[in-house]
């Protein structure tokens, strides 16, 4: 049970002078139950990559396997794939359309051809997973706040009971508390339901805090694919790609350069605190 990409290439407007490489020889594996962070600056190919994972874009060459079978094989149902690999786009405004929140969340399961009871049951379950209470069911999705819209949009995908959940910058434009709430719910989904999660984010601090593995895209290539600690150790290379490491990593390096003996592979505030206290305590 996994998604594997083998030498996937994607070219825009192939065969014309405008041809551009959006993905270049990307090979990777996403195992069941992993929590992965995908980072890269705007235009690095990360959006193109996630759209390949559920078949919205078709690779120019290379192969993508879902649970062992190629998704490009004849007879493979893309519709089925899309309900297994749920993708939530960045702007909830792009998918909310129904008269009320509840009906909107029902759209996904209804498209799967489920019965009315089953559909409603799933919608209720999905909404409770993202912390939207029953008092919201009859509200128009257009009257919600930014954070609430985002949660309803996630519920709209969760209602299809996907095995993999891909979130494209779910916290963009939210205030700090809103960011923490959404991410907290995603973490719960991952921990309690064992759902595979791929989080696309610009916030290194968030990625460092939550994910098991980071994939870094640059100019359509997968440049790093490792644990957060290992990836952030390359903070100088990340900077050249227009990315960065969490601020605490810089603090650790700055301290070390100033002659303060401590380990530098810290990526969260707690780790940094512990490391500094450890050094100070020893003396």
């Amino acid at each position: 049970m996994a998604i594997t990409l083998e030498h996937v290439e994607y070219k825009y407007s192939e065969g014309t002078p405008m041809e551009t490489d959006a993905l270049h020889d990307v090979s990777l594996e996403i195992k069941d139950g992993e929590f992965i962070g995908l980072i890269g600056h705007t235009g690095s190919g990360k959006s193109t990559l996630i759209q390949h994972l559920n078949g919205l874009m078709r690779a120019t060459s290379g192969d993508i396997r879902y649970n062992g079978g190629s998704i490009y094989a004849e007879g493979f149902s893309m519709k089925e794939l899309r309900s297994r690999v749920g993708l939530v786009f960045q702007y909830p405004e792009h998918q909310l359309f129904e008269v009320d929140v509840f009906t909107d969340v029902c759209f996904g399961p209804k498209n799967q051809g489920l019965s009315k009871e089953e559909t409603e049951e799933r919608a209720k379950e999905a909404l409770s997973l993202v912390g939207i209470g029953e008092n919201y069911y009859k509200k128009s999705p257009f009257e919600l706040s930014g954070g609430e819209k985002r949660r309803v949009a996630i519920a709209g995908v969760l209602a299809m009971r996907p095995e993999v959940l891909i979130l494209d910058e779910p916290t963009a434009g939210l205030d700090p508390k809103g960011r923490d709430e959404i991410l907290g719910q995603v973490v719960r989904l991952h921990r309690e339901r064992g759902m595979t999660v791929i989080l696309v984010s610009h916030s290194m601090e968030d990625v460092a805090k939550y994910v098991d593995r980071i994939m870094v895209m640059n100019h359509g290539e997968l440049v790093f694919n490792d644990t957060p600690k290992a990836v952030f150790a390359h903070y100088k290379e990340l900077e050249k790609m227009g990315l960065a490491a969490p601020q605490v990593t810089y603090i650790a390096h700055a301290l070390k350069d100033a002659g303060f003996p401590m380990k530098t592979d810290v990526i969260t505030v707690e780790e940094a605190e512990e490391a500094i206290l450890c050094t100070l305590g020893k003396e």
Partner: protein, 288 residues
Amino acid sequence: MGIIKTKNLVYNYIKRDEEEKIEEVSEAVKNVSLDIKEGEFVAILGHNGSGKSTLAKHMNALLLPTEGTIWIGGRDSLDEDNLWNIRQTAGMVFQNPDNQIIASVVEEDVGFGPENIGVPTDEIWKRVDECLKAVGMSAYRTHSPNRLSGGQKQRVAIAGVMAMEPKCIVLDEPTAMLDPNGRREVIRTVLELNEKKGITVILITHYMEEVIHADRIIVMDEGEIVMEGVPEEIFSRVEELKKYRLDVPQVTELAYELRKKGVPMRPCILTVEEFVTEIMDTYRKHSE
């Protein structure tokens, strides 16, 4: 009197149902009084829905106070004759870069404001040249805005406001939809305008890293000003900020946590350099 001054400003949003009957009145801004001096860099923080955007729109007379008064450049916004003067005094940059660029060519968009206020053609060209240079976008002057990155679009929007030669520029979450690179570009541009041209800047945001260089920070919650002071002072009150759904930079948080654990530190650390100096002091004392 400063460039922007409000006295007991109140604004109520009135929600009406289909028959135009009043359904709900919500107080977006409650009794706000503040005074911003010329040349100041003021940051307004607050979570979504705290009333900071509503307050900002008063500074450009896009909204008029329900009660109380706001003076922009000494002019009362309730007096209709002042409208265009106010909008020339205080320019405004909005959140979504796509929804505020009007023309299909960068330089034409920068010229839009001056065209509206009847600036002669030669003067428009002079201003457009200057403003594009000031935001570092001269190389893109004949490009279509659609091909620019978010940060570049916001810089064009800033140039468009600058071309009207305002004394003050109000930025309403200009970085909320940008990636980290775009955010840095925009903030650097804004800082430069404030320092080099002496333009009053009012920056509304919820990214704490962006406000550490401000002269003054105002925190809003539920339509009221709840905290006000220089960055060092505001950021030393970590718990209070968290109560208002705000964050502090990691370095500030780390210093705060260490201080709680008994490591001697100044109460407000905003940059990595400050942090390193403080820790090294302690470390040397320890080693002795």
